[in-house]
């Protein structure tokens, strides 16, 4: 006989629920900043659905920011991804944000940011896309120290090319 486990769907005591911020349509601009993340947040989840890169030839990134604005330096990466059936890895990359996508395709991603200590954050990005006839992925781990407390996140095309489709959802707890 197979064993089936039925779990209680409620949260364990002390586990905070996610709070959703306003969903954003990513069409017509090259940078989307979602502000309003309150003080004391330790985790931020950013979901991109059907985000389309238009004709961009540079990376699409997640940037974190504080009361001084978005920060564009100090994103210390390890990143790996596939493109056209080949696997690439770079263990020492520093660009102006956490890489979510390298090339111009429609893609879905999940970005989990978690506070480690003080204003230091780890950013974990997983991306899936169908580029042509193949299925591609990007996975990125980044350490980023902010100057002050996190209060905003952004999806930014480093080329300044407008996104032309998709939605961005941001949650925190």
């Amino acid at each position: 006989m197979a064993l089936t486990t039925i779990r209680n769907s409620g949260l364990a005591a002390g586990v905070a629920e996610w709070t959703a911020l306003t969903a954003v349509t990513t069409n017509g601009a090259s940078s989307y900043t979602v502000s309003g993340i309150p003080s004391g947040v330790t985790e931020v989840l950013i979901i991109g659905c059907g985000v389309h890169r238009n004709t961009s030839t540079n990376r699409a990134t997640i940037q974190l920011g504080d009361s001084g604005g978005l920060e564009t330096t100090g994103y210390n990466h390890t990143v790996s991804y596939t493109a056209a059936g080949t696997y690439y890895i770079n263990t020492n990359q520093s660009i102006a944000g956490a890489q979510t996508m390298f090339y111009n395709a429609e893609y879905n991603f999940r970005c989990h940011c978690f506070n480690t200590t003080g204003n230091e954050w780890n950013i974990d990005v997983r991306t899936f896309s169908e580029a042509g006839s193949s299925y591609e992925m990007v996975q990125t781990m980044v350490r980023k120290s902010l100057s002050a407390e996190l209060d905003r996140v952004a999806l930014v095309d480093l080329n300044g090319t407008n996104f032309d489709g998709g939605t961005l959802r941001v949650y925190y707890r």
Partner: protein, 84 residues
């Protein structure tokens, strides 16, 4: 100038600004080129196993990959050697 939208995640209020994109630095472009080059070398590492002998074409191909940064500095215009 590029377009930036700032959305207040609580109220939904949206404002629009312009911003100046940061172009990839020469170092970043060279890093990308090296990353792809290294992957291409890795793909052919099996040719260089000690119990195999590479053909001259295979040796030349791998050497051309190692030397690619002598001729090119980014993925924008690189012409890769033909894999034998």
């Amino acid at each position: 100038m590029a377009v930036s939208k700032i959305i207040n995640g609580i109220t939904g209020e949206e404002t629009e600004e312009t911003w100046t994109p940061t172009a990839q630095t020469a170092d970043e472009k060279l890093t990308d080129l090296r990353m792809v080059r290294n992957s291409k070398l890795t793909e052919t590492d099996v040719w260089a196993l000690s119990d195999r002998t590479m053909t001259q074409e295979q040796t030349d191909y791998r050497q051309a990959l190692r030397d690619i940064t002598d001729s090119y500095t980014s993925l924008d215009d690189v012409v890769w050697p033909t894999k034998p």
